[in-house]
Symmetry: C2
Subunit: 429 residues, 2 copies
């Protein structure tokens, strides 16, 4: 078989998968160890045809796949790997560029700068910020906090109790003390509780993981300015919403950030992984990371993006973001974001109108937090049962000590009918 034949089979597999992904149980219905037990204990001695690999993807792996591409994946933050993004990954893997220096892939380095500028414009960010791509928000936040530590020489990071666990992880790696500030009744950092003594940085969240709440970034920025602390904004999920002007209320104060993370692989229709990190102080970011050993020295008078983050090797990640921005355009992105928000509003309305159920947090963007009246155990059982049914997949959080369900919209394939099916399934169990 040739690459063309194998490739045609792989492509047909992908096309069929995307057409039928809504038919699979959303959450994989397997027990731990089940997939592993079906795989041989060792690699083969002689090579096998790619067709055998493709067959085993279907027969062995597929039952162990939780379908992130399903229109009824409502857990965590719903995502989509769009078709242009998927095909761009094929191209990136074919080129296999590794852009640790400008010269090792000028097109990758420069397209990364261009797509980050394009995205900054789409989101209405200040012009002139330096942008690059990291794998995940964990790494982006790690990079930002490393810069903050370098610049301030201080050892404390401050964030809300609702900040993402990646802040905890980054602080632990960097050896920083993490100080968590209580949230107000709407799950926003209480700026009046900020204690910035010795603070290297504050992480403000726009769109927290539990409820998509929005921290008071302007007040936080004021406090940071007074204390000389770095302002990092984690808008990993909600930042993509800024492509719609009507959702930019949540951007207030972000223009004063020292660094900002938005994950294109969350709500910008780009396949994993594509975490966008901008900084208004790129020289400080670079100072925290730049290391140029002899074997990487060149006569090129140009920055390398590996000098702005922890990893040296860099995939050609901007290609997929570029493909999405080109093929969807501003209008296409806005339409998809707005549809997700509309579906969330719709679902929120159904919950509100049903006396057996309760909305548990202000609904922002495309996330609804809710629960059925009654004990936590009953709500846990609902989640467990609907997830086990395969009809939909949703996740939970805990708010004010109570177990709360989360329904996250964001998959571009999700229709109103899918949301109706989810609501029906939740009420039925």
């Amino acid at each position: 078989m040739t690459f063309r034949d194998d490739g045609a089979a792989a492509l047909e597999w992908a096309a069929r998968y995307l057409e039928t992904v809504g038919d699979y149980p959303v959450l994989a219905q397997v027990e731990p160890g089940e997939i592993r037990s079906r795989l041989p204990a060792s690699a083969p001695e002689m090579g096998e045809p790619f067709a055998d690999v493709l067959r085993d993807v279907d027969e062995i792996l597929l039952p162990g796949i939780t379908h992130w591409q399903s229109p009824r994946f409502f857990a965590y933050f719903a995502t989509s790997a769009s078709e242009p993004g998927i095909l761009a990954e094929l191209l990136a893997a074919t080129l296999n560029s590794v852009a640790f220096l400008w010269r090792t892939s000028p097109a990758s380095t420069e397209l990364e700068a261009v797509t980050l500028d394009w995205t900054a414009q789409l989101l209405g960010l200040p012009s002139g910020w330096h942008g690059h791509i990291e794998d995940t928000a964990s790494t982006s936040t790690l990079a930002a906090l490393a810069a903050a530590r370098e610049v301030t020489g201080r050892n404390v990071v401050v964030c809300s109790e609702h900040a993402h666990s990646s802040v905890d992880k980054a602080a632990r790696l960097l050896g920083l003390e993490l100080r968590k500030v209580p949230a107000d009744p709407e799950f926003r950092l209480r700026a009046d509780e900020l204690d910035l003594t010795d603070a290297a940085a504050v992480v403000a969240t726009v769109g927290t993981t539990s409820t998509a709440s929005v921290d008071p970034v302007p007040a936080i920025a004021d406090a940071c300015a007074a204390a000389g602390a770095w302002r990092h904004v984690d808008a990993a999920y909600a930042g993509s919403a800024w492509v719609c002007p009507e959702l930019r209320w949540s951007q207030a104060g972000v223009e004063r950030a020292d660094s900002l993370v938005v994950n294109a692989h969350k709500w910008l229709f780009t396949p994993m992984d594509c975490s966008l990190l901008w900084s208004s102080r790129p020289d400080d970011l670079r100072r925290a990371f730049s290391l140029v050993p002899e074997y990487l020295q060149t006569s090129d008078d140009v920055d390398s993006l590996s000098e702005y983050g922890p990893a040296l090797g860099r995939r050609f990640r901007s290609l997929k973001l570029w493909a999405v921005l080109r093929c969807y355009g501003r209008a296409g992105l806005q339409a998809r974001i707005r549809e997700a928000v509309r579906l969330a509003e719709l679902f929120e309305g159904w919950v509100r109108d049903d006396p057996d159920w309760e909305v548990c947090a202000p609904r922002h963007f495309s996330l609804v937090c809710f629960r059925r009246n009654g004990p936590d155990a009953a709500n846990e059982a609902i989640v467990e049962r609907v997830n086990r049914s395969g009809e939909l997949f949703l996740s939970h959080t805990r708010l004010d000590g109570r177990y709360v369900l989360r329904l996250a919209l964001g998959n571009e394939r999700t229709t109103e009918d899918d949301v109706r099916r989810a609501w029906a399934a939740l009420k039925e169990v």
Copy 2:
């Protein structure tokens, strides 16, 4: 256009690229800013066809691509994204699994364990080690050193002066002091110079970046055992060679490592990014990273691989490694590794036999370090000229103060004729 049509065009582009990659200038022949200047300043308002993206890949980006897939890419460490690996990336992007918990992609989590076990067997590593995939060796080494810091409570990392800059970067991120030990005349860490006072870890390198030299791992392991320091082995490039029993002389002592990194994207025919990290002390690795907030708690009694490293989000990277191991088999991997070593030996012989040239370091694996008799400036000019010619791409290092050329074999498409062309071009300039 549909996904099938766009996909067929993308696939045809990829097939043609792989067939003709040897015809392009290996190093991109553009000036800084040139690619950027050909791209629009903003994203389009309305979506465009994918065909336009594909056209612009050819017309705008391709001149700015340094062709890592070219058979005459001899810089850094030569790599290949093999055809099965490329197609597996298409599948992974289509599935878009994010395996931060077992349940969010059981198949990804379990296939990762299986492929790491398969690879450990292929390389002859001790059984029972825990393996997982990080993006790059920078991250793998960061993870290992974080565990070392956690376990020992100490603040010093020790490595040879020839260790990779990722050790410097990891130490800086973790706030560890880095102590560099001098190398012997063959560029190996001098174990008699080891001072392990307060040492959290020693990083031993098997296959250094400059010369592919092999540190004395058994002596280092002894010293670490006596001092209670963590033993991390960086075999990012050379570890893949262990698939061939005749190259396992370089594995002595590695069986006593606490952690080991081998980059499958370097010499195991897997597209970027796929850095394999094994540990014989996984509980310690986990202790350094595990953080399970409420919104990630499940009833599944099973580890999540995100608890073993810095990032939470995890792509389905094992799929491409699995495809390569299946389609090449042990025999296919051995044949490719052996051919690269044979070509390196051949080139080394030509250099040795030519009185105008000199081999500058013992040749290990598939890397030859050499220079033309005469001043550094003349050698720099040779590198600059052959790279500018587009005929081949090679990089340099500095050994004992002298500027030295490096010819790295490893691309599976490289033939003896390609190496002859490289030698002819080097002699000609």
